[in-house]
């Protein structure tokens, strides 16, 4: 098996607020293989984005802090992994990785570009920063990058300001910026959530194509299982800061084992099937009062007394990890 590109081990990121400690990420382990896509799914507030921001070392501190764990990243397949948690988040080494080896795109294309700088300036900046290019060369490469994301008339759009572009075009420009330095890993935080459905599928197509061109891995954070089904090779399902199920995409959709994953799948509509959607009962608990033991137990139809103890994430079959007492009982 190939060495993982990114290997997160038992990551804990806590926020120390005046109202108490929020355990936003509470013992997450996952790994991403080169050139593959990992989908991270879960409801809002489950810690998906915090996991991504921890990897980028962009957690605002205070109040946030990485309390435990390792984030091992390999710049290339043969090199020794670097533990990103040990780097100074503002230091030169971390800044050299950000934008160059690991790039990130965000949910809101409307606000994720600076309104007072041209698109070309913002893309060229990353190229000049990481690739020792001068101004003219950076501009040329920015036009190249815009061309790659199939923005119409890139030689003119390079001088456009973000407000002159539509949402889909801005997200294309963001992708162009993220990919301008050929990163090994792209973290996409809900990249299509704010876009129209037709534009969504264009952007996803584009990401898939660029992935095979550049050969990067993608960490795709989304709450949209449809997006995961079409994009991801592997899926990690998160609930309240923990991974509850982890497997390849096919297994997750065909043979979900965790009650939460089953609930998520039951609550999406399917074309051609006029069946009642089954929502997951209840709501996500207050982040300050996470229940003891299995955090999903209060909403789980199968909960038993045993669920007051925390279940471990166990490999129930090759590559399929589930953290639920139901599995223990069956085996």
């Amino acid at each position: 098996m190939t060495q993982p590109l990114l290997d997160i081990r038992d990551l804990k990121t806590y926020f120390y607020t005046d109202d108490g400690i929020v355990r936003a990420v509470d013992g997450v382990s996952l790994s991403i293989v080169p050139q593959k896509t990992l989908g991270v799914v879960g409801e809002s507030g489950c810690g998906k984005s915090i996991t991504a921001f921890s990897t980028m070392r962009l957690i605002p501190s205070p109040p946030g802090k990485i309390e435990n764990g390792q984030i091992l990243f390999r710049k290339n397949p043969d090199s020794d992994p670097i533990d990103l948690t040990q780097l100074n988040p503002k230091g030169a080494q971390m800044r050299g990785i950000r934008g160059n080896d690991i790039a990130m795109i965000f949910q809101e294309p409307m606000t994720s570009l600076s309104p007072v700088h041209t698109v070309g300036n913002q893309i060229g900046e990353a190229i000049r920063l990481h690739q020792n290019a001068d101004k003219t060369e950076a501009r040329e490469r920015a036009i190249d990058a815009l061309n790659k994301v199939r923005l119409p008339r890139p030689d003119r759009q390079v001088d456009a300001y973000p407000h002159e572009l539509s949402g889909g075009m801005r997200q294309r420009a963001m992708i162009a910026m993220a990919l301008s330095c050929n990163p090994n890993l792209l973290i996409a935080d809900e990249p299509t959530t704010a876009l129209d459905v037709t534009v969504q599928s264009q952007i996803l197509d584009l990401m898939r194509q660029l992935q095979s061109d550049i050969g990067m891995a993608i960490m795709l954070i989304t709450h949209d299982l449809g997006v995961v089904a079409s994009m991801a090779d592997y899926v990690a399902v998160m609930y309240l800061g923990k991974i509850v199920e982890y497997s390849d995409t096919r297994t997750i959709f065909k043979n979900p084992r965790h009650p939460y994953t089953k609930g998520l799948l039951n609550s999406i509509p399917q074309v051609g099937h006029k069946r009642r959607l089954v929502p997951i009962e209840g709501a996500i608990p207050d982040p300050f009062e996470i229940p003891q033991g299995c955090a999903f137990a209060p909403r789980c139809p199968h909960a038993t007394r045993q669920c007051r103890e925390t279940p471990q994430l166990l490999e129930i079959e090759s590559g399929h990890h589930v953290s639920c007492w139901l599995e223990k009982r069956e085996t």
Partner: protein
Amino acid sequence: MINYIIRRLLHMIPTLILISMVSFAVIQAPPGDMLTSRLAELAEQGELGSESAMAQIDALRERYGLNDPIYVQYVRWIWKIISKGDFGQSFTYEMDVMELLVERLGLTLTLTLSTLIFTWIIAIPIGIYSATRQYSIGDYGFTFLGFIGLATPNFLLALVIMFIQVSVFEAESVGGLLSPEYIGAAWSWAKVVDLLKHIWVPILVIGTGSTAGVIRIMRGNLLDILGQQHIQTGRAKGLKEGKVIVKYGVRIAINPLVSRLGLELPGLLSGAVVTGIVLGLPTAGPIFLTALTSQDMYLAGAFLLLSATFLLVGNLLADILLAWLDPRIRYE
């Protein structure tokens, strides 16, 4: 853009005409005219009622056309301004209004522009510091100092500084903008140095109040901007934190301050009257007050008209500057 500027300039003409009418009417509104005070003067000398005094007053009335209806006076006044740039005579100072105002306006602009620069140089870095270290001891410290500056009346601060100058440093000349020997003298290096020695007091006095305001605005704006997504984008690119804050934060947070500039320009002319009086500054503010109390109508009229023009031009300049700074604002 050129079209826009031309259109704005054309719009200013009816506005100015209206303002000139209103100013003229306002000056005429109180009972009596500028000769009333002269009459009072004559009365003190016990000459009231005497033939010669009445004849003198009547002659003056005739000379200044004060017996004509108000609209005739207005047209005559405005026509002289437009055709010859002649703002008329100051009755109190018995000299040309323009002559009287020119040097004072120069000094006023010097003083107020220096104050503005002083305010920005002090306030913007503090605002940035406060925003990037929100709720730190430094942030609270500057906020506290800022509010003290805001709450201290300018005239009080002026008096305190003059007192310290005299009692502690035994300064020979306090207040004013120049030592007595340079007043009226031709401009020379020594005069400039003397000006610099005096001007810091009014700059400090006038500046302390507005510094606090600018700090608060800068801090608030920058905090707003720093919470926005594109700041995260800049960091995710691998930029240094300082560069992120300056290029993507401050660059945008400064825009509202620029639009505020337009409103501050007329204040540059008429503002700080109280400070001007307390410190005995040869600026425009104090004589404006004199002009109003003595109903020196041409002087006051010229003053109001100039302030209004400054306000309009200032706003236009600020709008142009803002359009240049912020591409989202387009004047097509």
